[in-house]
């Protein structure tokens, strides 16, 4: 017994000795950057030297380059009063964490969520109203920032999220069209490095038509940013409008002829980002064929598209008409959820390598569940990060 005790003491002493050595900061940084953000935030409160390491911009950058941890950003609508609840969840399923609830005086139909490099941009509001609300959130730290309103009335506007790789900053692109003079559009850019709007002077490509009878000249319902370029789907011609945040210029990208929807009354194309590449989903005739096609722009410079066909294991209608929303881990595509019970949702996930579906289950806290009133809307995958937001707030209930 004594020998063992002695041994234990000796190794304890050695550990104490090691404790007196000082380790280079870079080692501490490297270890911490591999932890989940939740752990990092907890460690921050344990020692002063660690606070300065973790709070530094160098560490924030390091953490996001290591970033392999993706999580789910979920928005749900309460149909009884129009409130939107925002949650974060895990790609392994389980209970979701409430981030915040937004209430407005009107009950808007449209919300959009776009995530880029650790931040999520959530737009809430009727896209034909003046007063839509755009929030930029970091779901990992539970902080958010509300974009200041642009000063303009009588405009139809959209806020589109982007990331400029050349300046390493998040930006929001605002495109507005005047109600009165539909030939003019205004472009403004909000940069998250200086937190201000800046108007820019740029022309649309010549063939883009701004006057599409009774409709907006581009499809609402998602924009995607890849290669520092924000992409929108134009109505006429049916092409992609691309705005490069680095050069601040527009150009167009043609979509493959197969991708043009056959049903011209209700054309259904939607953007999705897969493995960091731009994708277009078409669900032409999915009900009949139980197959959905996604065209992925594999080579952006050379405009080479690759078609991915997803075969549903059974009737697509019976599965609840799932629609692809985002890609989580590499080669995985997340589809829209179906309700299993009041507080239990199932999210189908398609693996592009094995060509199989699996599903994860998410549960909502009982306080958010009213029978048949809560509906999951957006589900997007975001990368965990420590990116700070200026003037950040962390209220959990917002009323506008």
């Amino acid at each position: 017994m004594k020998a063992l005790e002695q041994q234990q003491e000796q190794s304890d002493d050695r550990l104490e000795q090691k404790a007196k050595l000082s380790y280079p900061e870079e080692i501490i940084e490297e270890i911490f950057s591999r932890l989940p953000v939740k752990s990092i935030l907890r460690f921050r409160s344990l020692s002063k030297p660690w606070v300065s390491i973790i709070s530094g911009p160098r560490f924030t950058k390091l953490q996001i380059t290591r970033a392999t941890r993706t999580a789910l950003f979920i928005s749900a609508r309460d149909r009884s009063n129009g409130d939107r609840h925002l949650f974060s969840g895990s790609l392994d399923g389980g209970a979701v964490t409430h981030l915040m609830t937004i209430g407005t005086s009107y009950c808007p139909e449209d919300t959009e969520a776009e995530h880029l490099n650790g931040l999520v941009c959530f737009t809430y509001g009727d896209l034909f109203h003046d007063d839509n609300i755009t929030l930029v959130l970091n779901p990992s730290t539970h902080k958010f920032f509300k974009l200041p309103d642009r000063v303009s009335d009588n405009y139809i506007a959209s806020n589109l999220f982007g990331f400029d790789e050349s300046r390493n900053e998040h930006k929001v692109l605002n495109i507005s069209q005047s109600f009165e003079d539909s030939d003019t559009i205004e472009i403004m850019i909000f940069s998250l490095s200086n937190y201000s709007w800046r108007k820019i002077d740029v022309d649309l490509p010549v063939n883009v038509s701004l006057n599409v009878s009774r409709h907006r000249w581009y499809y609402s319902g998602g924009s995607v940013c890849v290669n520092s370029t924000v992409h929108l789907m134009l109505r006429d011609p049916l092409e992609i409008l691309a705005f490069d945040l680095r050069t601040e210029k527009f150009c167009t990208v043609k979509i493959p002829s197969d991708a043009v929807p056959q049903d011209t009354l209700h054309p259904c194309t939607r953007f999705i980002k897969i493995n960091g590449l731009l994708g277009i989903v078409s669900h032409d005739r999915v009900e009949e064929s139980n197959e959905m096609h996604i065209w992925i722009l594999q080579d952006y410079e050379k405009r080479v598209w690759v078609k991915e066909t997803i075969r549903f294991p059974g009737s697509w209608i019976k599965m609840g008409r799932p629609f692809p929303l985002d890609s989580g881990n590499t080669d995985e595509i997340m589809f829209s959820p179906s309700v299993l019970s009041e507080d239990l949702f199932e999210v189908p996930i398609y693996d592009m390598k094995s060509r199989c579906f699996k599903s994860i289950q998410l549960t909502l806290d009982r306080q958010f569940v009213w029978p048949e009133a809560v509906e999951l809307e957006e589900i997007k995958c975001y990368v965990e990060s420590l990116i700070p937001l200026q003037n950040q707030q962390n209220d959990t209930y917002l009323r506008f």
Binding site: S11, D12, R14, L15, E16, K18, A19, K20, L21, S22, Y23, P24, E26, I27, I28, E30, I31, F32, R34, L35, P36, S39, R42, L46, S47, K48, P49, W50
Partner: protein, 155 residues
């Protein structure tokens, strides 16, 4: 059998290790020393003990010897080697970190960093509180706190 060049590494304890050049250049620090012509007699590594140096050499050897193919077997073999490699006691892991950081062996560094991160994440608030209560004085020292995690794990 071809005669491959060997390099002599002389360490903290005065011991000399003879390794094939192809293994010796896994650590970038040594590769640069050789390129700069500092390796005429032997390469001095005064801050690394024999125990740690032999472990490092073992790892470099294994990775150099395993063919760099995408074959499942080769990959699985390496993976299981790495898994066993980091099963060392925590004191050894910390010594390894300093040595591997100095020697600059990227693959091995990643492996050890990830191993330590996996060890310290997910502590419950109770474990953290216990740790805080027992050793308030070490908070001024970087490693003290981390060692404490491992100490409490032994209990």
């Amino acid at each position: 059998m071809s005669f491959s060049k060997t390099i002599m590494l002389r360490n903290y304890d005065g011991e000399t290790f003879v390794v094939d050049e192809v293994v010796a250049v896994e650590p970038q620090t040594i590769e640069h020393m050789i390129e700069d012509g500092c390796a005429n007699t032997s390469i001095p590594l005064p801050n690394i003990t024999s125990k740690i140096l032999s472990k490092v050499i073992e790892h470099c050897k294994k990775h150099v010897e395993t063919p760099n193919s995408n074959e499942k077997d080769a990959k699985a073999d390496l993976k299981s080697f790495d898994f066993d490699f980091v099963k060392a006691d925590q004191g050894t892991l910390f010594d390894l970190i300093l040595a591997v950081n100095y020697l600059n062996i990227k693959g091995l560094l990643d492996l050890i960093y990830q191993t330590i991160a996996d060890m310290i994440k997910g502590k419950t608030p109770e474990e953290e509180e216990e740790m805080r209560r027992v050793n308030a004085w070490v908070f001024s020292c970087f490693v003290g706190v981390t060692c404490l995690y491992f100490k409490s794990k032994k209990i």
